[in-house]
Symmetry: C4
Subunit: 102 residues, 4 copies
């Protein structure tokens, strides 16, 4: 069982790392492109990546909208990748190989 | 089969408890920080945690935005925890051990 | 294999029925409570239940916000119920019983 | 294992194709119906299909709202179809048949 647990912990750490990476990219992007302060830029990154999407806290420039499109596509791509990793692991028989001989 | 059902019922009760806890935290937070009445504070908590996110019903203060960031991260963390519990249960072979000897 | 397919079709029909039921409830609710025309009321129901949440197309009354809270909780409850049905089916061994003797 | 991988790759390609198709439909729709420029129309399509839903960047016409309803229903239908394909594959025993004789 420890293999499965180790794998789960590793997956979790990778997911958290990528989420933090996306949050940093998002926050820095809104600070630079839209000249927001740290809290507002972080807020925009969090409401974008979580898909809560309250609204543009100030009307975004075309560059800010292009950046937002990239952030959404990047975040969605990450979610799809994580899901496909889980599903391909499920189908690979690895979990069964482990279980069968434990 | 009753083990599986008992487990499902327990999981459901835990999920409902945590959701109610987050709704209470959210509602009280918006009441205190943003001085909203009960219905508006509950509405903000529900549209935040459900990710519907219609918008800030009045422009939030920086403290309100920080609180919202915390609520979103907390709610997302809960969802991730619930999902990982389900998946780790799936991979642990527990459901099979049950099924094999029923 | 036809059992599994029949079950999948039945699940799909139930899901579609419940979604249409929620859309009708949502549309009628926004028409009555907020005095919206059909297209705007349907639009509010669709952006609420899909969690897209563009925003209140006109500022909602407290009654409208309470109704929206109910619609979100109802929609979320439906999603949770559907998910738990799928997972409990997965764990029940039914799919295996079918597969084993086909 | 290559069968499972080929299938995963094909599923991924189909999903990406359909997403691009929906983005093109959405972008063209907002350009024609709401007379938006390319970036704004793409932005509306992305925030609609991702369910981020920041808000209508300009108040939509009734035709624009009907189009948005269609885009949301179409996108949701696609997501449901993809999910049901994955689940029906899981239940079909195909993955097991592969694993058993590899
Ligand atoms: K919104
Ligand atoms: K949203």
């Amino acid at each position: 069982k420890s293999d499965v647990q180790q794998r789960a912990v590793r997956q979790l750490l990778i997911s958290i790392t990528v989420i933090i990476f996306l949050l940093v990219i998002g926050t820095e992007g809104y600070r630079w492109i839209e000249d927001m302060d740290f809290i507002n830029a972080l807020y925009m990154a969090v409401i974008t990546l979580s898909t809560v999407g309250f609204g543009e806290i100030k009307t975004l420039s075309p560059e800010g909208r292009l950046f937002t499109i990239g952030l959404i596509v990047g975040g969605g791509g990450l979610a799809a990748y994580t899901l496909s990793t889980i599903i391909s692991y499920l189908f690979s028989g690895e979990w069964r190989a482990h279980w069968e001989y434990q």
